[in-house]
Subunit: 100 residues, 4 copies
């Protein structure tokens, strides 16, 4: 089952600047071979369900290893059986409507 997701990780108890932790999670996702795209409030992820969620778990583990005592994530994830759709398809589909 393929999934398109969007993940936002928030480490708590490490001060106000969290970009070091977000970057570490980003690295985990990329090294997992997933298609990822960073934006200003999270990261788009595309891949097989088990691979995506294994990488998300690894993110939490890595952030704890880096010293974050608490990690709170927010994630959107969608699956569909009617047709195959990529992240690029989703964006293009909306942009086409905007032009017309």
């Amino acid at each position: 089952m393929k999934v398109i997701a969007d993940l936002s990780v928030v480490p708590l108890g490490v001060g106000v600047s969290v970009s070091k932790y977000v970057a570490a999670c980003e690295k985990v996702l990329r090294e997992a071979g997933l298609e990822v795209r960073l934006h200003a409030y999270g990261t788009n992820i595309e891949g097989e369900w088990d691979e995506v969620f294994a990488a998300v778990k690894r993110c939490h583990e890595v952030l704890h290893e880096m010293g974050a005592p608490r990690v709170s994530s927010n994630m959107r994830f969608g699956t569909r059986t009617d047709r195959d759709q990529s992240m690029a398809d989703k964006v293009r589909s909306v942009e086409d409507k905007l032009k017309s």
Copy 2:
């Protein structure tokens, strides 16, 4: 790794009433032996990471089997290494502050 989570599943392409699908997912979570608590915009879940996410995957599969061509979920999930905390602890901790 224990996780406290909150899941909101939204089936698309099945009309405006989605409670049948939400109930099916609720059943999946309960049958997985997880501690769950339904509220007005999602379900609190407490358990081991792998068991929680296996049940969430099963929710998507079951909703597709029921005929939903598309399922979009939104989930919050938190892990912590500083201490063990249950869902009941979290609520009590806030309620204690409200009384004082």
Copy 3:
């Protein structure tokens, strides 16, 4: 326009324990006269759109006044025009399906 919502506020840069801040936001929501229900990963809110979002803004302001340099929230909110539905209705609707 009535809205049913679910809010989770996360103050950053104030250490690992955030219940004091969550309680302060809870107090803001209650004092705004909204119907609220605290759970383990957020708070259900029911009310008129403008009143709900004015209270959410006040939450951010109060948390900053308490010393949180950064506040990151996650919120679900739904509106419907087909019929009037309360938070209690939503929960009951799912629970009825679970019994049958």
Copy 4:
């Protein structure tokens, strides 16, 4: 108070294809003069709190006017008092960490 946000709108009861509705909301956000950036699972938004949330309310209204009986949104939004930060700053901050 400035806010950086990320909005995902889901119209219910209009079938499986929702890009027309997402595009309509995108148009509302742009016409409000906000800085927006569409991605595969939502839209980044930057602006003054009141302007951002007025536009989000308008999105719900427009989707209902288009015929969606139900609209469920998921939104992340963050405010900070320690320093001024743009969406571009946030992305750059993480990308710098990835290079080093």
